[in-house]
Point group: C2
Amino acid sequence: MADGAQPGSVGLVSTKTVRLFTTESPLMLELGGSLGPIDVAYETYGSLSPAADNAVFICHALTGDAHAAGFHERAKRPGWWDNLIGPGRPLDTNRFFVISANLIGGCQGSTGPSSTDPATGKAYGLHFPLLMMRDLVEVHRALVRHLGISRLVAALGGSLGGMQVLQWALDHPAEVANAIVVAASSRLTAQNIGFSAVARRAIMTDPNFADGAYAAGGVNPDTGLAIARMMAHITYLSEDALTEKFGRQPHPDRQHPGFGIDFAVESYLDHQGQVFLERFDALSYLYLTRVMDYFDPFAAPDALEAVTADPVKWLVLSFDTDWRFGTEHSRRIVRKLERAGQPVTFREIPSAWGHDSFLLPVEPYHATLRAYFDRALKEVRA
Amino acid sequence: MADGAQPGSVGLVSTKTVRLFTTESPLMLELGGSLGPIDVAYETYGSLSPAADNAVFICHALTGDAHAAGFHERAKRPGWWDNLIGPGRPLDTNRFFVISANLIGGCQGSTGPSSTDPATGKAYGLHFPLLMMRDLVEVHRALVRHLGISRLVAALGGSLGGMQVLQWALDHPAEVANAIVVAASSRLTAQNIGFSAVARRAIMTDPNFADGAYAAGGVNPDTGLAIARMMAHITYLSEDALTEKFGRQPHPDRQHPGFGIDFAVESYLDHQGQVFLERFDALSYLYLTRVMDYFDPFAAPDALEAVTADPVKWLVLSFDTDWRFGTEHSRRIVRKLERAGQPVTFREIPSAWGHDSFLLPVEPYHATLRAYFDRALKEVRA
């Protein structure tokens, strides 16, 4: 798994916030209605070239945030995609200008259901509008315009991030020279929706959920959110990875068999649930999983019109042990794009780690991205 | 899936109850301590031959009960394995005497954590002792003795039922001429344990759980138990089966996208959770999933001594789309048994339905069982 060529970190970074839509000039939403104001938290790494032709936009997954690389002041851990982004790393900040934004509906700086509704002075809660993938993309587009960029070398994302990339490139091919879609889906299966439905059930039946108005009471539906995360986490790893990491090892503190944390894997899942509570909001979990459930871009009759007229270069990657959005999901995206005459490179990457692989420095994965970015920059400058 | 040769039903049946252990003569438990009284609910189908040489014992899975075949008075639905058991059916009650018992720790007539503790006059709750697989088997053995049977033609079970069969035949090979282990495991993986851990978490964090003393309050941890069942149900079906049944169909009552039941698969899981509450107890869910977590019979150094001296005939079956206890689990059982010189027949049955296949009239599965039972009866009478 180690990546031999990982010299640099982008070093100290901080998150900026910008208001991209206002109450007077709101975002018009896919399902009707509007949303404003919209603030967006974002970070950038590297320098934008004078020609503004070296920008790469990172779309994060369900529980990600704007802090993809480098270190925040006094932080011990770097951003979530630090293994990928930095000077000399596969997405080389000596050459690329990388933009990473918290998506709307999220809870880490960008406007979401726990933000204050200016109409009431209280948190939106369930009065926040239901979002669709295009709404997330429209806000990214506004940020890109704000930064003075008219065309990205690439948009890149894994899982829900890849779904944003897919929607963006399908709708606005002139803005995205290369679309890199990793471990994503163009249409969730009934099983995918089922797991998210159970997670939402756990959150919404937590007595602290209070119909989504929990912020007013100063309590959070932590029990339900932890259950949601524990269950989801099982689906993010391959069965073999969980076996390799934990097998049937007893938890070191186990005294007598009972209903506590008897096995190491139980301790691990418990920990994953608990640390999640410190950084994520239950309402965002509801809204963003629903964005994924409803995502079905190729169902629109005109889905491929824009890219047919103005092709994008696509890189679609899956991981062979991913059972959340396995290779069949990626193959479907590839088939649809190829029928529309798109130049698509597809690779199924061998990796032991399941869906989570897209976050990890899996060697053939990083090598593929490194080579792809090198070529992409040469091509846009050719 | 249809089984062409399924003429008969065993007709009207009723559940009997027998006290097999008393306070004075309790069951000595695997982890130490004892349990008594123990009542067992059971049903029988067909007639015991004068030589008592035609008995087949059915071990049920996690949420099963004694009512495997035929109809209870005024019931619209037959027992849970009615497609298998009856006159002319693969387990032919014209020739076999079939015994089906609710296991201890359960909640459908046999003694379990919701039974009354004679020491307190209240439900045991979490004071019920933790059970191991051998405890379940010891009670089955006592029932078989009670019925005047010294040797079974076969013991048969799927999932947790197959695990009981495995333990029984390993420990007491003289009592089980044929051991039929379907869709079972000899050792849960970390993923298996993880799913059950999340299910238990949902139950135990339900405010109504009340540290297991909910019976006294007259309320049940229905919210948590339904979540546990919904999640488990996803794992009982193959991804393709869920896709075929539901795909991405909207729920007919869907008005606007939201956080209710928008997709057909959500309605299905919700229904599965709700009907489960009518027939199952949250404490039994805890106790019986823990029995499975700890089950690891081949880990004992002397695990194979008894069967090595006195071989059992084994039939081990898996289903190709089962991802709860997939074929690798069965192959492990087969490898261990073959190393001990056991005659093992193994088949991986093609079936679209995942783990649940063991309950369904999958044609090659039923054909295999029919042929096996025919041969087994001839052999014990040879």
